[in-house]
């Protein structure tokens, strides 16, 4: 089998892993070497599904001793198998890297013979790259559940980032669909990596040139929609992972049916892309906007609102927080306004040092007034043209695509109950405004 066939099979087998970032570490090539890394990460291309391609993402081998039901590489699946030799893969990586196709390598693998044997093969690829080619580019390596910790330690000294995929968000789902794995076999390596990162950071303070262990941190991935786990459970788990294991990223992957199995959604099930999207939005709110998981979902609201993004949904349910005076509100409060993002909030804080902001100025700073208008005031005043009709509010707070889905689910028409509130355009008094908007949306959705 030539390297073309191997690349095809082993890319195909790796593509359902969504992590592809090269972020989290700044490096430049060592003397006589090749390769650098930028903390912000660099996308080298985007595939036709719109996902960033930053790393050569392949499996070492798709031979697997395990039989996870949701996975195309499972032992019982009849599919062509291939394995790279460590040298083949190292050469391919360097040649892609020299041509600026990639930022580095993302190496995962099926379980060949045993987790330890697989890990040794992976270590050999990284060793050739780091030692023989003096490669300083980005390497993300997967820790296979069940691997001996000394091998993980070795792999971690060569990689920039490591990940252990949780895949299934609960113990029950795991037992049912990945019988060879256990909660323990996943969280043990995750905890081990976390401890080593922590020890290493104190080493680095003590000895400036102490070699770095997984300097870009660790991440994980969960499959969404293969099991009955709710958004609430998933988001809580995510928050816990950031806190307990100091993960850099949690990725979500909408389940793509690859097999007919009575325990799984049927093969013609569409991947729950919107749900995945909402989870990413919420994840963003946890990491950069100072939200807690419990503010976004709770026991009684276990799923995200399909029509409204989580931040907007929070705002509509907390109208007592608004309207907010953008010339005064602290940064952390500005972040809570729909239509104001991290960048525009920072710019607001800078710009208001020299000038009192008006709506025109906010627009220049990149605030999406279409959304923000319902939640803010400038100099004590709401925006002049502010119209609170059902149509206007919906149009402002939903994307066009979502709006059309909304209209499909709640058709317009004289008999439509949902509409009764809005047959007349409502011009509400400013002090009633906020409540009005809240009602007008939350009552129906």
């Amino acid at each position: 089998m030539d390297v073309f066939d191997k690349l095809k099979i082993l890319t195909d087998a790796a593509k359902y892993d969504v992590a592809c970032t090269s972020s989290g570490v700044n490096k430049k090539a060592a003397a006589g070497g090749i390769g650098s890394a930028a903390a912000s990460g660099i996308c080298h291309s985007f595939s036709a599904d719109g996902r960033c391609i930053s790393l050569l993402k392949v499996l070492m081998t798709n031979v697997c001793a395990y039989d996870c039901k949701y996975c195309i590489n499972r032992r019982s699946n009849d599919t062509p198998r291939a394995s790279f030799t460590p040298r083949e893969l190292a050469e391919l990586t360097i040649n892609f890297y020299r041509r600026n196709y990639i930022e580095g390598l993302f190496l995962s693998s099926g379980v060949m013979k045993s987790p330890d044997y697989t890990c040794e093969q992976m270590i050999e690829v990284l060793r050739i790259l780091r030692e023989e080619y003096r490669f300083s580019g980005y390497i993300h390596a997967k820790a296979i559940p069940g691997t001996d910790s000394t091998l993980i330690a070795h792999l971690g000294m060569l990689a920039d980032r490591m990940s252990v995929n949780i895949e299934l968000p609960s113990q029950g789902s795991l037992q049912m669909l990945a019988p060879d794995k256990s909660k323990h076999s996943i969280f043990a390596p995750m905890g081990y990596i976390q401890n080593r990162i922590q020890e290493n950071s104190t080493d680095i303070i003590k000895y400036r040139h102490a070699p770095k262990f997984v300097p870009a941190g660790q991440s994980t991935q969960m499959i969404i929609g293969a099991t009955p786990d709710t958004d609430f459970q998933i988001l809580n788990l995510t928050e816990g992972l950031y806190k307990k294991y100091k993960l850099k990223r949690v990725f979500f992957s909408a389940y793509m049916p690859v097999t007919e199995n009575s325990l799984l959604p049927t093969i013609d099930t569409k991947p729950p892309l919107l749900r995945e999207h909402r989870l990413y939005q919420a994840d963003w709110l946890l990491r950069f906007y100072g939200f807690k998981a419990s503010e976004l979902l709770d026991q009684h609201h276990q799923s995200f609102n399909p029509y409204i993004d989580p931040k907007c949904n929070w705002a509509l349910n907390h109208m007592e927080f608004f309207p907010m005076n953008v010339n005064r509100a602290p940064y952390s409060d500005l972040l809570r306004v729909p239509g104001i993002g991290v960048n525009s909030a920072k710019r607001i804080v800078i710009a208001r040092r020299t000038a009192t902001l008006n709506f025109d100025g906010l627009k220049k700073l990149g605030v999406v007034l279409k959304r923000a208008q319902y939640f803010i005031t400038c100099g004590g005043k709401a925006m002049d043209s502010l119209k609170i009709t059902q149509d206007a509010v919906l149009r402002s707070l939903m994307s066009e695509k979502i709006l059309s889905i909304y209209h499909r689910d709640f058709p317009l028409g004289p008999k439509s109950k949902q509409l009764s509130l809005f047959e007349q355009p409502l011009m509400i008094q400013p002090n009633l405004t906020q409540e009005g908007i809240g009602k007008c949306l939350t009552s129906q959705i």
């Binding site: 390297v3 195909d12 090749i34 291309s45 985007f46 599904d49 600026n100 196709y101 020299t354 902001l357």
Partner: protein, 270 residues
């Protein structure tokens, strides 16, 4: 201070030259309505002044900028000069005049029109150079890495450090077709030189196989069930595709000849 509605400065296109325009504007207490390159055609309607580049004057302006408005403002103006903003020279002059008046806080005046327009232009430059750090593709000829780009902004100075740190032991060339300039590097010496055209030889077999392998990887990595060309387009606008290996090949020239001679059309390159 007079706003001269019919006064135009012309300069040699260098950053120093522009600083001399700033000097002139202060010296003569006048604000031109535009600043153009020396070789743009003259019109009779306007009063035109040729501003000679004089390093004594430009150095005076240059050293005053960090003193009066901070080092960030100087970096900002240098970047602004690389952008493709129309009338960038005039905006830079107006910005510096504000800087002399308000000091470092000019960098906070984000809602002011002049500052805002320049900030957006610099953002555009930064975004484009960031994207090109990823989208740029090298082909290897005689062990020299060669890339071609067609950026809107003059991004080469923004990418020099990045590629030098990435490939310290390589020899490479990045040709900016829009601005007819090239970044040429050999260990450990980067230079930027003017260059008119770039004729590339046929890639050898090894080079062709790696290009094929990359196309194979690119096509395979897509999850078809998530096909989303609009999303791809918004992340990676089509104007970048032209020089990207995954969408055909950089050695279009020989292939185009093939097509012209209407010999066997393989269609492979689309």
């Amino acid at each position: 201070m007079l706003n001269q509605s019919n006064l135009i400065y012309r300069y040699d296109g260098s950053f120093d030259g522009l600083l001399c325009c700033v000097f002139e504007s202060y010296d003569k207490k006048e604000i031109p309505m535009d600043i153009l390159l020396t070789d743009t055609p003259q019109t009779m309607l306007f009063h035109t002044k040729e501003i000679m580049t004089d390093s004594l004057k430009s150095n005076r302006v240059l050293s005053s900028i960090p003193r009066k408005m901070g080092i960030d403002a100087l970096d900002f103006v240098r970047h602004a000069f690389l952008t493709c903003l129309t009338q960038k020279e005039l905006y830079i002059l107006l910005f510096l005049r504000m800087g002399y008046r308000y000091g470092p806080s000019v960098m906070n005046m984000l809602t002011d029109n002049v500052v805002n327009i320049l900030f957006k232009a610099v953002k555009h430059l930064e975004k484009e150079s960031h994207l090109l750090k990823g989208f740029l593709r090298f082909s290897i000829f005689n062990n020299i890495l060669v890339a071609e780009i067609e950026p809107k902004n003059y991004v080469l100075p923004m990418m020099t450090q990045h590629f030098c740190e990435r490939y310290p032991e390589e020899r490479f060339l990045i040709y900016d077709k829009t601005h007819s300039m090239a970044l040429v590097y050999q260990p450990y010496q980067p230079t930027v030189i003017p260059i008119d055209d770039l004729e590339l030889p046929e890639p050898n077999e090894e080079e062709q196989s790696y290009q094929e392998l990359w196309r194979l990887f690119y096509d395979t990595i897509e999850v078809q069930g998530r096909h989303n060309p609009e999303c791809r387009m918004s992340q990676m606008p089509k104007r970048y595709w032209k020089y990207m290996t995954e969408f055909g090949c950089p050695q279009k020239k020989p292939l185009l000849k093939l097509e012209n001679s209407s010999a066997n059309r393989t269609g492979e390159y689309y």
